[in-house]
Amino acid sequence: MTSVRTLLEKPWLWSFVGALVVWLATVAFTGGYGAGGMVTAALSLAVFTVIVGVGQMFVITLGPGNVDLSLPANIGLASAVAMKVMGGSDSMIVVGLLAALACGAAIGAINYLLIWALRIPPIIATLSASFIIQSVDISYGRGLQIKPPPGFADFTNWQVLGIPVLAMLTVIFTIGAALALQRMIYGRSVLAIGQNIRAAWLAGVHVGRIRFLTYTLCGALGGIDGALLAGYFRGANVDIGNEYLLASIAVVVIGGTSVAGGKANVPGVWGAGLFLVLLLTMLNTFGVSAGVRLVLTGLIIVGVITAAGGEKAAR
């Protein structure tokens, strides 16, 4: 009995329950038609949210005020960089991925540089950076109509037994992220900083280095995500990352990570990512208009966060 209760106390469980409920509602509506295909589609789309969500989760875990608002601009620029470097040829896929990774990591490093040098809140630092990145992307990606190399486009759409390979790789990546968070010095340091930055510093945690690493990691994940998105949707686009600002923060919060920092949850990011994608699928299946879909999405996010409730004030 106690095991059931401890399981129910896990905040991330609810995101999976939500995803399941939404999926069942949709399947009931279609009369069982397309139930499997829906899971496949949800998995392949959720991957992109989960990758940036994990990055955002590490950043948010650093404590109140830490959030990366530059992710959409970062994703947009990295998608253009990846497509330009690959230049449509299969032999350049790895180089292009590395370029997107480097581009994202550089943006993350610049974010932290601004936070550190100007001693400004991360929200403003990443916001200013995103203004500039956005312009760079508009100027750099203007008229860019390079298709991804066929091998890369196939890879991002590759499925084995109805399960996208990209989703399997992302599951492995998230297991790695969970291990890093709970079992490695890096992850424990992130949690310690989020719980009390001063205590962490007094305990000998390299606060500056860990924060730098975290912002760079989040940027790099944004970069990789941009490249994969460009492969999946067959082309780069300035607006390709726009929806990932809300999505990356929403999956972190819905997934049971504390916005106040110091408490992170990797499985919840998957549950919340699937929940969001399936929710959109359900609303599309019900045939509601774009306006109603947006209103319901917003209300459900507000409803979920209200139901989950905030942390009791520490002071």
């Binding site: 200013s128 203004f131 100027s139 879909r293 947006l294 917003g298 905030g310």
Partner: protein
């Protein structure tokens, strides 16, 4: 909240230089606006005229109003990421219902201010992160805007058009309006006793609660004021553009935050400045498009100019603050 360490208390001898640094810091928003104006005057002297200002500051009034709206939530240590889509929603209502069925339009706009007040109550009672709640709400406002006005169009009410095209003698209307907005909000927030309580709810909430003030009420009032100025911003915007589009306000979320910070506001501690916020909004409005056009920089870099100004001003602030301690 922020305990003052004994070492940072102003000592008697360097008090003069600390006061000077604080003054310089307070003047920073005005200085940055002056710099942008000087650059424009140097590049194109003819722009500094009644007609030129009317043209260059065309969109400054809605931006200033949205910035003031954002300033109220920031005064309470919260952040509103939905103000841009809210301005768009108000714009759509203004260009449709407010013209065709004024009573319905007024009720809807008042109702939306009520929604803001409820959000404030919800955020306070459930202790929710305002970033997430308002991000969710940004979807709601955008969806409602699309439902009200599926295709770009509509028309502003005539009375609104005539207000926004008002041409006072000598002083260009945008500057006059900015002065009035700054003066009214400055008086309300900085000079009245309840204004002090509102700012105090961001500065030291625990102290206010022990003094017997309702934090729920301050949060509701701050959010309702944000809603009110958001409504004014959306109406002013439609009065200028004459027709609406569901996405018309989307850029205002980031612009308004940038304006508050440029104007000397801080995210925590209830440190905001209405005059500074208006100056910040004017700086952004001028720097983004007129300055770049005169410098022959392609419009691609407009957004970057906002980012660069933000970074430069914050860097200047760091240099000044270093002298402050």
């Amino acid at each position: 909240m922020t305990a003052i360490a004994p070492g940072t208390l102003p000592k008697s001898s360097p008090r003069g230089s600390a006061a000077r640094a604080r003054l310089l810091r307070g003047l920073l928003p005005a200085l940055s606006l002056a710099l942008v104006l000087i650059a424009i005057a140097w590049l194109n002297p003819r722009a500094i005229s009644y007609f030129g200002f009317n043209l260059m500051l065309n969109l400054a009034i809605p931006i200033a109003l949205a910035t003031i709206a954002q300033m109220f939530v920031i005064a309470g240590n919260e952040l509103d990421l939905s103000i841009g889509t809210f301005v768009g929603f108000v714009g759509c209502v203004t260009a449709t219902w407010l013209r065709d069925a004024p009573l319905l339009g007024i009720l809807v706009l008042l109702g939306s201010i009520g929604v803001y007040a409820l959000l404030g109550a919800l955020i306070h009672l459930r202790n929710l992160p305002s970033i997430v709640v308002t991000l969710g709400m940004s979807f709601v406002w955008q969806g409602l805007a699309i439902l009200v006005l599926p295709k770009p169009g509509g028309k502003a009410p005539d009375w609104l058009l005539s207000i926004m095209s008002f041409k006072p003698p000598y002083i260009p209307f945008p500057i006059l309006a900015a002065l009035i907005i700054a003066a009214v909000v400055h008086f309300g927030l900085m000079r009245t006793s309840y204004g002090v309580i509102l700012r105090g709810s961001g500065g030291n909430a625990a102290a206010l609660r022990r003094a017997g003030w309702s934090l729920l009420k301050t949060k509701i009032v701050l959010f309702a004021l944000t809603g009110l100025f958001g409504v004014l911003s959306g109406m002013a915007l439609i009065g200028i553009t004459t027709s609406a589009d569901a996405n018309i306000g989307n850029g205002y979320t980031l612009l308004s935050i940038a304006g508050v910070i440029l104007g000397g506001g801080e995210f925590v501690g209830g440190r905001v400045s209405p005059v500074g916020a208006v100056l910040g909004a004017l700086t952004l409005a001028l720097a983004a498009s007129p300055l770049l056009t005169f410098m022959h920089i392609p419009p691609d870099w407009q957004v970057a100019a906002n980012g660069a100004i933000l970074i430069i001003v914050l860097a200047a602030r760091v240099l000044i603050s270093r002298r402050e301690r």
